[in-house]
Symmetry: C2
Subunit: 86 residues, 2 copies
């Protein structure tokens, strides 16, 4: 029972995480951060940190997995935004 | 105890959902969908649907709230992409 729930969570984790990675890759390749807004990125970063803490507290492997990866990639976007912003 | 967990989840939900809405608004205003990739949008949409189902199964109010809103907004992006794509 619990296993099939985590399978759904894991599929969701892979899909939403994978959909986000091309943005990180594109920003890294092009150094073009003009379309990204720093307040939005910071909001998103803090939000993902919140989900990660929530995932740990409710003991959800799928949420910990997804949000750990997304936390690193959204941190990279914040870093790129600050570094490459003109 | 459970209440403070849901407060963290709810803050996370508001932050990540709010960070996503300007993208939907911008796409709706500009009709510019060139930067959006349909396979990515569909992946994201299905992923969010997965998170919503997961949230229902593990009985998480924060996840149901966040993913219901994000499901609607990512559906709108898919719709705009198909409608406005040249």
């Amino acid at each position: 029972m619990d296993n099939y729930i985590e399978i759904i969570g894991f599929i969701a984790a892979v899909l939403t995480t994978a959909a986000f990675l091309p943005q990180v890759y594109k920003t890294w390749k092009t150094k073009d951060v003009s379309a990204l807004s720093l307040p939005m990125l910071l909001m998103f970063f803090i939000g993902v940190l919140g989900w990660l803490i929530y995932g740990v507290l409710i003991d959800s492997p799928s949420m910990i997995f997804a949000n750990a990866i997304t936390l690193v990639s959204s941190f990279l976007l914040v870093y790129y935004k600050i570094k490459y912003q003109k």
